[in-house]
């Protein structure tokens, strides 16, 4: 049986409007064969989690440049868990200091991509770490 395509919700939490990174990554993932739903800007964690559940996403990619990542990324993870979707893989990127990366990972963010990461690295990581939900052992 052919595996269904992996679905990724790309979202911009927070109030900053720097969507260049989110769009470039969304397009690279789409070109790599994933199904990508881009939520647009200025999303609250609640809006992102609702989108992820409605779209039956396997992963959520978060992009942020406003400095509010320590507040907003863990909130997305927590809301997914509360709504029974704790197995949705959450990854993110943006202007995020190195020392914040372990904090985000401890909060349940699977991977954080900082500036200069090649698109190929992100695509490869998604390919290796995201599986269609419900198919996992």
């Amino acid at each position: 049986m052919a595996e269904r395509r992996i679905r990724i919700v790309m979202a911009k939490p927070g109030l900053d409007g720097h969507d260049r990174g989110a769009k470039v990554v969304a397009r690279a993932l789409r070109d790599a064969g994933f199904e990508v739903i881009y939520t647009g800007l200025h999303q609250t964690p609640e809006m992102i989690v609702t989108a992820a559940i409605q779209e039956d996403a396997d992963a959520v990619g978060l992009s942020i440049l406003s400095g509010a990542h320590l507040t907003l990324f863990p909130r997305v993870v927590q809301l997914l868990r509360e709504r029974g979707a704790g197995d949705v893989v959450v990854f993110g990127g943006g202007i995020i200091p190195e020392e914040d990366v372990p904090v985000l990972k401890a909060a349940g963010v699977a991977e954080v991509f900082t500036p200069g990461t090649p698109l190929e690295t992100i695509v490869r990581w998604v390919r290796e770490h995201v599986r269609p939900r419900g198919v996992r052992a």
Binding site: M10, G14, L15, D16, G17, H18, D19, R20, K23, V24, A26, R27, A28, R30, V36, Y38, T39, G40, L41, H42, T44, S66, G67, A68, L70, T71, L72, I95, P97, E98, T114, P115, G116, P118, L119, E120
Partner: protein, 536 residues
């Protein structure tokens, strides 16, 4: 020999915006140029060589470092520090909730207060921000757009309460909503009502604030979002055309407000492309103002501009290399004839800059001004075959875009159609692909990398800022006259509904201690919130 062409180490030589560059340039490439018609001496129409006859021999550019973080007190301290260090103009960065018109205690502000700039909720915050500053002598540039009318009103009221007269206040509000919809994406209401607020500000500024630049037409954010140099030039000038049109439609004679329009450009790594962009911008704007809008005053023809070095060109890898990038960019801005300049700090891909990093950035400008000798004569590159040919090339390509936008019905319509947004997303993706294929090399990122990066110190914002800010906001709300606030907000709503100038009631609402969020809620109620169609 089978091939007598000199060997070259690349197939194509291109600018960072992917314009192909010929093997060499000579007299044939500038044969069409007429010195008097197309260049003119510095200070002469069409100002390709600069707006002043003496340029930096008369006066250096303003060294204006953008700053603002944490609380109003923190930012005020940074301003006093910058003035002591020799900066000559202030520039305020606001935090995201302020940019979007939310108070600091709004649920959407959580985690964002004071992060990327200073939080301003009421005129009380503005008074702290400006405390002790000589507001009749320094000029203040405020990077604020969607709620620019509220922040301008706060500046006026804070200054008046500190004893200054409004006619003596000098500075700039960015107010460029078209580039927000195109690139920077901090908005409140949709494009058309946004243009109406700008018309009210233009009229208010013309009547009340003779030294204030209400609008700074900005290519910076367009470029940072991934536009090419040509797109930055074209979309910025097309935005300018839309604003001039709006001012005329508001009943202002063009020469009454055009002299106080200013521009704001990016300066990226491609040295000659950037210099050509600035020169082309001046020539194009002079002709647009004179020929298209019939402006008579020389000052209306001038394209005066601020430049910021390209934040997007900085790398997180080997951050000290960024000092070199900023130096090259700053030099291009000066050779391009900028009126003011912000140099980025080496650590800005991590966080807001530390004081030491800011000092190096400012010193870079001072070294260019006082040690490099490039200020000794205006437009020192004028007449160089390559520079003139590239200037004409950028002009021709940008003119094609402007014609396309005119054809769509002008920039407001083009924005509603998502046209510039799509062009930029396309260009930014193409650039990223070129980087991935190593057709474009970025030192330290896809070439000349080091395995272990040495960490540099970064600035952390104290999370207590959010709590104290919310506390102060609540105190202001508790200590004001609620009836007066209600009446003042109703007056704003009435002006919106009845087509009166909104600036006057906004000033009174601010004086009554209405908050930023309360005033912007009046806008949201009247016009609804803008939602962007998500384009990838």
């Amino acid at each position: 020999m089978s091939d007598d062409r000199p060997r070259e180490w690349k197939e194509r030589f291109t600018t960072i915006s992917d314009l192909e560059i010929a093997p060499r340039y000579g007299p044939e490439d500038v044969a069409d140029l007429d010195y008097a018609r197309d260049l003119g001496d510095p200070g002469q129409y069409p100002f390709t060589r600069g707006i002043h006859p003496t340029m930096y021999r008369g006066r250096l550019w303003t060294m204006r470092q953008f700053a603002g973080f944490g609380s109003a007190e923190d930012s005020n301290r940074r301003f006093h520090y910058l003035l002591q260090q020799g900066t000559t103009g202030l520039s305020v960065a606001f935090d995201m909730p302020t940019l979007m018109g939310y108070d600091s205690d709004h649920p959407r502000a959580a985690g964002e207060v004071g992060r990327e700039g200073v939080a301003v909720d009421t005129v009380e915050d503005m008074k702290i921000l400006l405390a002790g500053l000589p507001l009749d002598r320094v000029t203040t540039s405020m990077t604020i757009n969607a709620p620019a009318n509220v922040l301008l009103a706060m500046y006026v009221v804070a200054a008046e309460e500190a004893g200054f007269r409004r006619q003596d206040l000098g500075g700039t509000t960015q107010t460029d909503m078209l580039k927000e919809f195109i690139a920077q994406k901090e908005w409140i209401v949709p494009p058309r009502p946004s243009m109406r607020f700008i018309q009210d500000m233009l009229v208010f500024g013309t009547r009340e604030l003779p030294r204030w630049n209400v609008l700074s037409i900005s290519g910076y954010h367009i470029r940072e979002a991934g536009a090419t140099a040509v797109q930055e030039l074209a979309f910025t000038l097309a935005d300018g055309i839309a604003y001039v049109q709006a001012g005329i439609e508001a009943g202002l004679p063009v020469d009454a407000f055009a002299p106080r329009l200013s521009f704001f450009f990016d300066c990226h790594n491609d040295f000659f492309e950037e210099i050509a962009k600035f020169r082309a911008a001046r020539r194009m704007w002079a002709r647009i103002m004179r020929e298209r809008f019939g402006a008579q005053e020389m000052r209306s023809w001038w394209l005066r501009f601020h430049t910021q070095t390209a934040g997007v060109s900085l790398t997180a890898q080997q951050p000290l290399n960024n000092i070199v990038r900023v130096t090259i960019q700053a030099l291009a801005a000066v050779l391009g004839g900028t009126q003011s300049l912000h140099t980025n700090s080496m650590d800005e891909t991590y966080a807001l800059p530390t004081e030491e990093a800011v000092r190096v950035a400012l010193r870079t400008q001072q070294i260019i001004a006082h040690e490099s000798g490039v200020v000794n004569t205006p437009d020192p590159l004028g007449g160089a075959y390559f520079v003139e040919a590239l200037t004409s090339r950028l002009e021709a390509e940008a003119a094609r875009y402007i014609a396309k936008i005119d054809e769509l019905g002008g920039m407001v319509r083009a924005v509603e159609l998502g046209y510039p947004q799509r062009e930029i997303a396309e260009a930014s993706f193409r650039f990223q692909q070129a980087v991935e294929r190593k057709e474009k090399l970025i030192v330290g990122v896809n070439a000349f990398t080091v395995p272990e990066e040495t960490p540099i110190p970064i600035l952390r914002i104290d999370p207590a800022v959010e709590r104290t800010q919310i506390e102060r906001l609540r105190q202001v709300r508790a200590s004001r006259d609620p009836g007066a606030v209600r009446r003042a907000l109703d007056a704003v709503a009435r002006a919106i509904a009845e087509g009166e100038n909104t600036m006057y009631p906004i000033v009174e609402a601010v004086r009554a201690r209405a908050t930023l969020g309360e005033i912007c809620d009046v806008y949201r109620a009247a016009y609804g919130e803008y939602r962007e169609p998500a384009i990838i």
